[in-house]
């Protein structure tokens, strides 16, 4: 079963169920009022302008009410205006508060796994004592047996167990966690289903990765992303520009009143809405980009929240945003493109070596190899009918464990034989240093296996080559389709593998990646990454091993597997709780969605202004230049109803767009140009047209309800 698909489905289900849960709405409503405090509102400059405008209008109402001045316009009109101005601010605050509440709810569900549990702490002098998980310190060792809850984030240092991680990932299938190798990371709150493991705790209670993330999501220390900062700046500048437009309208309207009075031969000047300060405030509020200003914070929080729902924990909102900009994706062959465990499909002995001898030596050499590959060779040898006792290593043998550096593993037997199994070039190099000459046939065998897309491993005994073990890779189901999807998203896919060139090339061709990096070591991976970055590209990669840490840190988006080592998790800027390498696609999509949503709502917000002008400008001068009615193409009922309708539209569009802000504008991998055309039509042209319809509709309703004169 494809893990990522199930996660996406689960996320969809969750978001539909929860979008407007009343448990979230009420506290958010309350918070919306709290956020009216100027020192908080100030953080959103656009809405702060609205708040100041609303307060100013209130002052005018009070002045009129106390009888200081008697304007020509009914007090009810100003009160209605002010009511909707305050509502505009509250809607904006609600959008932010609601998004924060949703994030907090998600964080709370994560935190529920962080309850205190009993832990068996391993004492230095042997034996265990039962302590509370809260009291565990980093570096403590804890023993966890079947049925127990792992007391904290840590690394398995002994044993192997199947672990139920559904509490944090939602995935019910248990996963294997074992010492050594790259699947040693365990998360506090998950349950061991079988066997016994010893875990070295790496984070104290409340300091774990999850805890830090929870704090981040809760918005306590929410940092704005660079793009968000730039957008806020632009929106503030637009507010300033519209202030420049609106303020001079007062003297201009005043002049119009003067000369119309003289034209009509009146002794006192006319008074139009153009010199009515609450009306000018309404015009300003309608013009400044309140829609995006109100939803900007919500969009950012929702982006992090979406990532969280996809079981990805990001260290910063910035990482999610960067994901949308990724140019190149490094995909580890093993685990991402192929099913991690390779299968020893063939044993090919060289001349003068029996099949039995090769199998026994291969199994011995793999005894200390904890990688799935090594384990699989042993399994295959046993499966071929070789008795267990023949491949049991003598007690006093020295094991040489597999390392990514040497790319071989082996055993030094007491009788002096040094058996090694590993990557062909590594073994051949070893044969040559030991004075042996690798038989010519070896190259043919290796090449043949490589061409077929399999990985050949050489087995040697001292300076003598024994034969080739062919390890076959199974492609993950659907992987080719996902690669196509990545390409459509405009990403350059690079497969990274320790295999030789030939093998790598074959697999690369089979799955359709753009490029591959063969015989990769952590160093070559890092240098490749740096080279791509030097060309101005942004690179994403995922990794789980400690040796991936430098590259994860260097990458612009480093997605670490939760099952991976602590070093990898520390180095990356995201952690995938599902440990599903194909998650990078979702990460990129979430990033793109985030940026698209911002762009779409900004464009919509600015495009809306055209219609508002056609409603408000004729209304402003209806009292002085009545023939400007020709501009009133919506044919609104009266000047005051025109202005009220525009203000009401401006306010209610905010809650109407909250779902878009939270769910995001859908990303389609159809290429940038087609996407831009599509969004320009929907949000640009739509943004011009929609308010014409909306304002007219509101005007009709206001008239039908006899709410306006």
């Amino acid at each position: 079963m494809d893990v990522s698909v199930s996660v996406v489905e689960r996320e969809k289900g969750a978001s539909q169920r929860k979008l407007f849960g009343s448990d979230l709405v009420l506290p958010a409503l309350k918070q919306a009022f709290v956020m009216l405090r100027p020192d908080i509102q100030w953080q959103n400059p656009v809405m702060f302008v609205v708040e100041v405008g609303a307060a100013l209008t209130l002052a005018f109402i009070l002045r009129a009410w106390l009888g200081a001045t008697k304007g020509p316009f009914p007090l009810g009109y100003s009160v209605a205006l002010d009511f909707w101005l305050w509502l505009t601010v509250l809607f904006a605050n609600f959008a932010t508060a609601f998004a924060e509440a949703r994030g907090r709810a998600q964080a709370a569900s994560l935190r529920s796994t962080r309850v205190a549990t009993p832990a068996n702490r391993l004492l230095p002098e042997g034996g265990t004592e039962v302590v509370c998980s809260i009291d565990l310190k980093p570096g403590d060792l804890a023993v966890v047996t079947a049925g127990e809850v792992i007391p904290g984030d840590g690394e398995v240092i002994d044993g192997m167990a199947s672990v139920d991680e559904s509490a944090i990932t939602g995935e019910s299938a248990p996963v294997i966690r074992e010492a050594g190798g790259d699947r040693s990371g365990v998360t506090g709150g998950t349950t061991v289903l079988s066997d016994r493991i010893v875990v070295r705790i790496v984070a104290g209670f409340g300091e774990s990765f999850l805890d830090r993330m929870i704090a981040l999501v809760e918005g306590a220390v929410r940092q704005r992303t660079p793009n968000e900062i730039a957008l806020t700046l632009v929106l503030t500048a637009f507010s300033l520009i519209f202030l420049i437009v609106v303020v001079p309208l007062w003297p201009m309207a005043f002049m119009a009143e003067q000369y119309m009075a003289s034209y009509l031969g009146l002794s006192t000047p006319l008074q139009s809405l153009g010199t009515n300060v609450p009306t000018l405030v309404a015009l300003l509020v309608c013009l400044i980009p309140t829609t995006i200003g109100a939803l900007l914070a919500a969009i950012g929080i929702a982006g992090m929240d979406r990532a969280l729902r996809a079981n990805i924990i990001t260290k910063s909102g910035r990482a999610v945003e960067t994901a949308g900009d990724i140019d190149t994706v490094l995909l580890d062959k093993t685990g991402t493109i192929t099913l991690g465990a390779r299968h020893a499909s063939e044993f090919l002995p060289l001349d003068g070596v029996t099949m039995h001898e090769l199998q026994v030596r291969a199994a011995l050499a793999s005894a200390a190899d904890l990688t799935p590959e090594g384990q699989n060779i042993v399994k295959a040898v046993l499966g071929a009918g070789v008795p267990q006792n023949e491949i049991a290593a003598p007690g006093n043998a020295t094991f040489v464990p597999f390392s990514a550096e040497t790319r071989m593993s082996g055993i030094d037997l007491p009788d002096g034989r040094r058996i090694r199994k590993g990557a062909p070039d590594a073994i051949i190099a070893r044969l040559q240093t030991l004075g042996g000459t690798p038989p010519a046939r070896i190259h043919a065998l290796v090449a043949k296996a490589g061409e077929a897309g399999a990985t050949p491993l050489l087995v040697a005994d001292g300076a003598r080559a024994l034969g080739v073990v062919v390890m076959e890779d199974m492609l993950k189901p659907n992987i080719a389709a996902r690669i196509v999807q990545l390409r459509q998203m405009g990403l350059h896919t690079v497969m990274v593998t320790g295999d030789n060139r030939l093998t790598a090339e074959t697999i690369a061709r089979r799955v359709g990646v753009d490029d591959f990096l063969a015989e990769a070591t952590p160093e070559t991976k890092l240098s490749f990454l740096r080279k791509e970055q030097a060309e101005g590209k942004l690179v994403a990669m995922m990794g789980d091993g400690t040796n991936d840490a430098p590259a994860l840190a260097q990458a612009d988006v480093g997605l670490a597997m939760n099952a991976g080592t602590e070093a990898a998790k520390e180095a990356g800027n995201m952690v995938d709780l599902d440990s599903d390498p194909t998650k990078l696609i979702e990460v990129v999509e979430i990033g793109k969605q985030l940026l698209m949503t911002r762009g779409a709502l900004t464009t919509f917000s600015i495009a809306n202004d055209i219609a508002k002008y056609f409603a408000i400008v004729p209304a402003l001068f209806a009292g002085t230049l009545p023939w400007l009615k020709v501009l009133d193409i919506m044919d609104l009922h009266s000047p005051t109803s025109a202005i009220l309708s525009a203000v009401i539209f401006n306010a209610i569009i905010i809650p109407l767009l909250i779902p878009v802000a939270l769910k995001g504008v859908r990303y389609r991998p159809i290429g940038a140009d087609a996407l831009l055309r599509r969004n320009l039509v929907v949000w640009g042209l739509g943004g011009v047209i929609a308010p014409f319809i909306g304002i007219k509709l509101i005007d009709v309703i206001l008239v039908a309800l006899h709410l306006v004169a």
């Binding site: 020509p72 793009n227 700046l233 632009v234 500048a237 520009i241 519209f242 420049i244 437009v245 001079p248 007062w250 003297p251 201009m252 005043f254 002049m255 119009a256 003067q258 000369y259 119309m260 034209y263 009509l264 009146l266 006192t268 006319l270 008074q271 139009s272 809405l273 013009l287 945003e321 949308g324 900009d325 140019d327 998203m489 405009g490 990403l491 060309e535 101005g536 590209k537 969605q593 940026l595 698209m596 762009g599 779409a600 900004t602 464009t603 600015i606 495009a607 002008y613 001068f621 209806a622 009545p626 023939w627 501009l631 940038a672 140009d673 831009l676 969004n679 320009l680 640009g684 011009v688």
Partner: protein
Amino acid sequence: MWTLPILLIVVTILISIPLSSYFASVMDGRLKGPRVIAWCQSRLDSGPQNWKQYAVAMLIFTGALFTYGYLVLCLQPIAPLNPLGRGILAPSTIFNTVISFMTNTNLQHYSGDQSLSNFSQIFFILPNMFLSASVGFCALTAIIRCFRGEPTVGNFFVDMWRVVVFIYLPAALIAGVVFIWQGMPMTFASQHSVATLQAGAMGLDSHGQAVPQHIIVGPVAATIPIKMLGTNGGGFYGMNSAHPLENPTAISNFETTFLMMIFPFTLVLMYGRMLRRVRHSVVIYGVMLAMMIGVIWWAINFDTLRPNPAFTGTPVAHAYHVADANAPGGSLAFTVPKVASLPVDQALGNLEGKELRFGTSAGAVFAAITTDVTCGAVNAEHDSLNPIASISPLVGMWLNCIFGGKGVGMINFLIFLIVGVFLAGQMVGRTPEYLGRKVGAREMKLAMVALLVHPLLILGPSGVFAATPWGTEAVANPGPHGFSEIVYQFSSSSANNGSAMDGLGTTYGLNNNPSPAPEAVPWDIATGLVMLFSRYLPILAPMAMAFYLGRKKPAPASLATMRDDTWTFGFLILGTILVIGALLFLPVAALGPLAEQFGPIPFGG
């Protein structure tokens, strides 16, 4: 009717294509020229400059130009080449004029033939026209070099030299020869005295003799080519290009119009060639051309093809209500009565204030183009355009990037482009990029500063002048028309255009002028300051923006990046410009031209 604009546009396009190649090779320094020119250039070369040094050099140069201009104008009464004994201009007019010519605006609060001596024409007007026109050109070149990621942006003085010597001088020489052939004066003499055909047309002197007509002449053919090529627009004569000696024939009119279009057109393509993004620049060119065709169409359609509303009268009576607190119900009803139209055949459109020697549409076409390319020369009275038609020149100045002035038009376009890319570019799901570089907060800050200056300097002073005696006592026609005049004056100053809707009493002229306009001094000072700020801020901020953008590492284009050489991109930028432009200026357009057009005519005065 349509032949003139179509021919103009086609000819300009055809010539701008090869010319842009030449411009690019000049500005890239591939053209060396004769040894003496190369020697002079090497003397000027103070070494490569970074953008700040370049900007400082530009400002110092401008300061020197200001001082020099002030000196020349102050010395006019005592300087040679002044047989008519022109006095000194009024102090505020000198301030205004020096800034006007330094900033390539050429707003003239004086009448050239009445107030300036040949000395001032040759030593003030002429060098200013060459040099101020080169500043925008150099600034664009520096911006291009920033975008190319070069650490230094060239040398301001070398660029200046190249522009003047390799581009303006040869072009102006060729153009001047054609003008002389068409009958433009070129002489050190100051006036011809001729007997009028109708004896005594100019009146009789104390002896009862017919006074001869004095026709002012001078080195006209020297200043007019650069007046048009440099999109300066400051006329030798007060009547500018409507004067028969400044624009003698239909051929000279075509040449005049062509000259002001050619360099702004060419510079867009030069931008593409120097950046090796010709297709991108073609899209920009297309967007600008679409807008230009739009405003030319507007001008012709509403001026040449529509009757003058002052003559058509009001066919039916209209009843209106205005808000009047003293009237019952707060609303006062009044009727604009039916007015019979005057018996005037209006088949040829609005002919008021047109120079009909050039055809009926020449005035409208010229009005649209001169404001698009911020030239500011006029061959018709903009004050007499049909009110709704006057939106055409106003839009040209408000947007200020329909090709625009040399260099600065392209720079202004870049500001809209960056804003458009930033707002809508995110809709492809990436951080907005231009030329492969991510547009961040710092670049946007600078772009927004540049975007803000123009509306601030138009709307702010317009508001102040509309409601105070500075404006109300200066306008010839109260009401919407007077308001249009005020807005036009500040739009023209802020766009560094220099044309005027006239009708405004802004002329102080000579210091010994017995009856200066009552509000001339505030107008001189206000428009002077507007010209000053709106010239340099929108050059410096984009230069800084280009520098910060240019030093970022460009990312190679992929399927996921927004392409900047497609029609989609063109529509995006066009939409951005039109929407932002409309949002900024729709209210003043409504209060001025629209209120006048739809209101009772004649209105007020």
